[in-house]
């Protein structure tokens, strides 16, 4: 239920945010004022594992974002590798299209090994 991430599920803008002229890039957003844009941080906790969303932060640009991520999200030895992504660059699925997106795989239990019960007990299968 609760994943390892701290904040936004997908880094996208929440419903209710009025955003006209969405900046294309984080740097573009910075140009609009002195408030630093938002970045999403992904941490690989050890070799062999994927990067997992850890949380967000603010930084003026990509170079500082990855450094801030190091300072903020790996203070306790949590990672061996980091990704940072401008929050505005994340493309998310439409929550209102949940049905058309995620209904299809449900009920197709023949895609799962547990569907095949007759072969149970056969070794190395």
């Amino acid at each position: 239920m609760v994943s390892g991430s701290t904040t936004g599920d997908d880094g996208s803008k929440p419903a209710g945010t009025q955003t006209s002229a969405e900046p294309e890039t984080a740097a573009g957003a910075a140009a609009l004022g002195s408030a630093w844009p938002l970045w999403e941080v992904f941490v690989r906790s050890s070799r062999g594992l994927s990067h997992v969303h850890a949380g967000s932060l603010h930084a003026p640009d990509a170079q500082m974002a990855v450094r801030n991520a190091r300072d903020l999200y790996t203070r306790r030895n949590e990672g061996v590798s980091l990704w940072v992504v401008p929050a505005s660059a994340i493309v998310a699925s439409d929550p209102d299209a949940k049905g058309q997106f995620f209904e299809s795989p449900q009920g197709k239990d023949y895609r799962h090994a547990t569907y095949y019960t007759k072969s149970e007990g056969v070794k190395h299968l």
Partner: protein, 274 residues
């Protein structure tokens, strides 16, 4: 499964100040005096940087400066523990119960924080100096100094990057930031010279292979800092050097206040443990 991977925390297994004490190696008197210099440098700067936590320009920077201060305090504790081994004194005996004239830090480290630009200018000089110093000290014939340097050099490498990134941004940001960082460098530069001054102790220990000859670091320091300044389109400040004297216990006006604050509580309770 993945729920824990991004927040899994471990202490790691790097060298800690406690390990220096536990190892029980007793520093020869001259090595102890040398370790005191390095320990005091880092201690005084950590004391300065600790002030920034809760006052930085942005929360992310509170955390970044906090990490640097903690690294430096760690180095200080290791060096001071080792320095104290020569005279059966602890890191705290040395930090809290020496008088101003017994501190061996160079003047640069005790310079006031000033604005963020002054702090960054000081960080630039310190981190590039310490990086060259620890890189060389890793080959010390004294295994404890070499071990502390090996741990510290990786952290200082990051400090170097942090200060360089900020120098670039302040120099290339706004007119005001450029003016401020230029001025900050001018105010900081006079104290750089002392870091590279040789004296009798440094010469004899360097000859024995235990210490690094300060003057030998200057060229690489100039090249490193010069590259940052040139990328930032800043000039190396042409200002006269301050005389220094920290290695002999002669300090600037600032250290007394810093120590008064740092030591006040410990000295109210002689013999107490915390």
């Amino acid at each position: 499964m993945s729920s824990d991977s991004a927040t899994r925390i471990t202490p790691g297994n790097a060298l800690r100040p406690e390990d220096i004490v536990a190892a029980g190696n007793k520093a020869p008197a001259d090595v102890a005096e040398y370790a005191l210099r390095l320990g005091d440098d880092s201690l005084i700067l950590a004391q300065r940087l600790g002030w920034w936590i809760s006052r930085a320009p942005e929360l992310e920077e509170d955390v970044a400066l906090g990490n640097i201060a903690l690294d430096l305090l760690g180095h200080a504790r290791s060096f001071l523990s080792y320095a104290g081994s020569a005279s059966s004194r602890t890191e705290d005996d040395l930090a809290y119960w020496r008088r101003e004239g017994e501190f061996r830090s160079a003047h640069l480290f005790e310079q006031p924080n000033g604005d963020f630009g002054r702090t960054i200018a000081r960080q630039l000089v310190v981190s590039f100096y310490q990086y060259e110093l620890y890189t060389a000290l890793m080959s010390s014939t004294d295994s404890t100094l070499a071990a502390i340097a090996a741990k510290a050099v990786k952290e200082v490498d990051y400090h170097r990057d942090h200060s360089a990134q900020w120098v670039l941004r302040l120099a290339g940001g706004t007119e005001e930031s450029r003016r401020r960082i230029t001025r900050a460098l001018e105010l900081t530069w006079p104290y750089a010279g002392e870091l590279f001054e040789d004296d009798e102790l440094a010469v004899s220990l360097a000859a024995a292979g235990a210490a690094v000859l300060p003057s030998s670091l200057r060229e690489r320091f100039d090249a490193g800092v010069g590259a940052v300044l040139s990328e930032a389109e800043l000039e190396v400040p042409q200002v006269p050097a301050a005389p220094g004297g920290g290695r002999r216990g002669r300090h600037s006006e600032h250290l007394g206040y810093l120590l008064a604050e740092m030591q006040v509580l410990a000295r109210e309770h002689p013999g107490a443990s915390w």
